[in-house]
Structures are given as C-alpha cells and as structure tokens.
Symmetry: C2
C-alpha cells in the first residue's frame, strides 16, 4: 500500500489536494486512479486511509476515510552525525528514518572532510524513507552546526536534560550493548564522528561532559555510516521501541 | 596506516611482491616509496608490518618485519542475503565485512527482484572493507544459490549444526535482542529477505525448520540492507565478539 507524507491536517471525510510531485507519482509512476486507496500521515494526526476522489491533469484530490493508526510518540532519539561524504550521509539519514530517530543533526567536527550538508535533499530522503518504513512521523533535519557550539549550548537546547551516547572509536570505553543495559530510557542523542575520527581535543572534551556516555562498537574500525546504524540499533533494542511484542 | 590483503604466506623477513593493482595503489594513489611502512594480512598468518623494499615501474616488493597481530578466529557467522539491487547488495557486503561476518552467501528467493549477483565484484568490496576495518581475514563470498537448495542441504553443508536467525518481517516473532539473549554462541547464520519479503510458502517452511530462530527487527519496515546491518549488530553484541573489553 502506498503511503504519503502530507502537510495538511487530517480528519474524517476531509478533501485533501496533493502537491504536484505526489500527484504525478500517484498517477504516472504508480498508475493509480479514482477509487484507488492510499495511506497518508502528517506527523500529527496518525495515519489515514484515503480514496482517490478526483484526478486532474496536474492534481489529485484524496478523501480521508478512516484513521488506520493513531499518532504514536517518536523515540526520543537525536542522531548527531559528523559531516561525511554525501552518499554516506544520505545513507545515514535514510537509516535514521527507518530506525525511528526523531531528528538528525549534521555537525561540523575538526576533522570533517566535507564542508556542508544539503539539508533540503536530506529532508527529502528522510521523508521518503518515513513513507516506506511505516512510521507516522518523519525525522527532522536540523541545520548543520558546529559540534563545539552544540555541546556548549547543550543545557540551553535541552533544559530537561539529554544523554549523549558518544561512539568513541578509541576503543577503551565499554561495549555499547553492555553500557546501554545500565542506562534508563529518556531523551538521548547519539554522536558519530567523521571517517578521520575526533581530534584529541574533541575527544577529551566529549569524555569529560557530564551527560556523555562513551561506548565502543566492537573490535573493528567501522565506517561512520555503519557506526550510526549499529548504534541506533543497539539503542532501540535497549532503550527505544524495539520492545518485546506484547 | 595502509593495510593490504595479500595471497602470499607471511613470516619474518620475507620478500613479498605485490600485484599490479596494489603496487599502483601504493605508489601512485598513496604516494608511498622505499622505506615506508605498510601492514599486510592474508587471512591465515595474522597481520605483519612490512617496509617497502623496492619500487619498480609496475611492481613493489615489501619485506615483512614483525607480526603486529596474531591470527584470531572469525566470528562463526554467515550472512544469507536475498538478491537485492546491486548498490544495496554491495552495501550489505561492505557492512558484513566491517561487522565481522565469516561468509556472505547471496541466495535466490521467490520474490527476488534481481537475477544474479556479481560475486567477483562482491569479493573486491569485501576485501577492501576488510583492509580498512582492521580484521585479519576477509569474508568469503559463496556462489549464489537458491534458498530452497541451501535449506534442503543445511545438515549436509554443516553436519556440526548451525542455527539460523530468520529475520521475519511479519512481525509476530520475538524481538531480536530478547530472543538472542536466550541463545548460546556457536555456528550461526542470519537470513535477510528481499524488499518484497518472503513468500507465504517460504515463510512457513522457514518457521518450521528445527534450526531456525525467527526474530523481529522493531516495529518499522526495514529495507534489506538495514535489516542485515541491524541483525549482524545485535548478533555480535549478544553472541559474537562485541564482548566487554577485558
């Protein structure tokens, strides 16, 4: 079943015009027409079943029928990912969406090999992955910021507190799964560095922060995209919504 | 430090001619010359530090100095991955190498969207990832086989027994981390299906096999590459070599 992320509010028996791109996708790529069913979600009102009510040359109007799933809270997880090569950064954003992260925040570190991220493109990737993975929301992509600044502003940004799972490639921290087993659910962030690793100064600072929990991801050197996926998986299994099926 | 996977035996004070591709990589891409140091491994004799002894027009000769790491056993883990689109299959092989799998075996399932895998290309990717990830071996890439046949031949292929972590996207199995916590280390395989999932017949058969352990990977639909990386991560954390640092 096709799922679309939309921006309109959703309620019962609501006429929902789709934008140009989604209209073309439905009719031209997926060959759908009047009477066909589609699922939509907007990140606020849960997931709704809709029927295609009208198809014009450049527009489609859906009509909402029934809510198929309620809005559920996002796992309170933010992925801080150092700027890495475009293809790998895009992989990380797609996987963060599939693995349920609430936000992805690209950060500039001292050894970043890349200057900037294209947040607009990352948003498209996150949204498309959200449509396919079946979540009722989409991860926000924050504007790229310097890691130093993010850390300096931590308590102002999250006055309620937020723990930081620091993926420390130096390897002398505890193994991630064992460390996570001693932690409690709540607001978390995961920090994954660039291919060149963190500088000694960054690493010392990260290890000294009171909200930082350094961990090791196994005995091999992982690429940044792998580290991000593995860390999000272990966090979800220990503290997130990969809970036993009731 | 540059690491190269070589095919020669390795012992102390051994002259080691590199092949054409590795010679060019060392001298032309990495700009190394006589006297520079390189690490090599062959999957059998551990890792050795070498010095570049001679540089010719199309060849390089290294001389082994000291063993820097002993050969360690591979985690006894085989990844069975359904044929998926080339880019995603290559990602899975790269990540299997980083995450320590002993073998990757592409399998043909009923709903496979792709006809065949280029095993030669997958071998290159696995080897390159092994060089970068710091392991002293490389995952073998088995020739693509039909899933039906692999399952029928299971006990002949592994007479000592091998458990199968079946990543069952239907979602009514136990969560992977919880199920893995009840299992014991030993020979394992992980099976990840294609984007279209397993057929009902395949799924019924997989759930009925005595060596199969079905698991769920969270509440969202994961792409095949994500499922493979998440499952390998959780297996390593529960039963593999992501053990607490001594």
């Amino acid at each position: 079943m096709i799922r679309l992320l939309v921006t309109s509010p959703l309620s019962a028996d609501f006429a929902l015009p789709l934008d140009d791109g989604q209209s073309r996708y439905l009719t031209q790529v997926m060959r759908k027409g009047v009477g066909d069913e589609v699922l939509v979600f907007n990140g606020v009102d849960g997931e709704w079943q809709c029927v295609i009510e009208q198809v014009g040359k450049r527009f489609v109007i859906l009509r909402t029928q029934a809510q198929t799933r309620p809005q559920t809270p996002k796992p309170n997880l933010i992925l801080l990912i150092a700027l890495i090569k475009r293809g790998r950064l895009e992989t990380v954003v797609e996987k963060a969406s599939e693995l349920g992260a609430a936000e992805v925040w690209p950060v500039v570190t001292e050894r970043a090999s890349v200057e900037r991220a294209r947040e607009d493109r990352l948003r498209l990737i996150a949204n498309e992955a959200a449509e396919q993975t079946g979540r009722v929301d989409t991860p926000a992509i924050r504007p790229t910021a310097k890691l130093d600044r993010v850390l300096a502003d931590w308590d102002r940004t999250w006055p309620q507190g937020r723990k930081l799972l620091f993926c420390d490639e130096a390897g002398d921290a505890g193994m991630a799964a064992d460390v996570l087993a001693t932690q409690v659910p709540g607001p978390w962030a995961i920090l994954v560095g660039p291919e060149g690793g963190f500088s000694p100064g960054e690493r010392a600072r990260l290890r000294a922060l009171p909200f930082s929990v350094p961990v090791t991801l196994g005995p091999r050197i992982l690429r940044a995209d792998t580290a991000a996926i593995s860390a999000m998986t272990l966090w979800q299994a220990a503290l997130g919504d990969w809970l036993p099926v009731a």
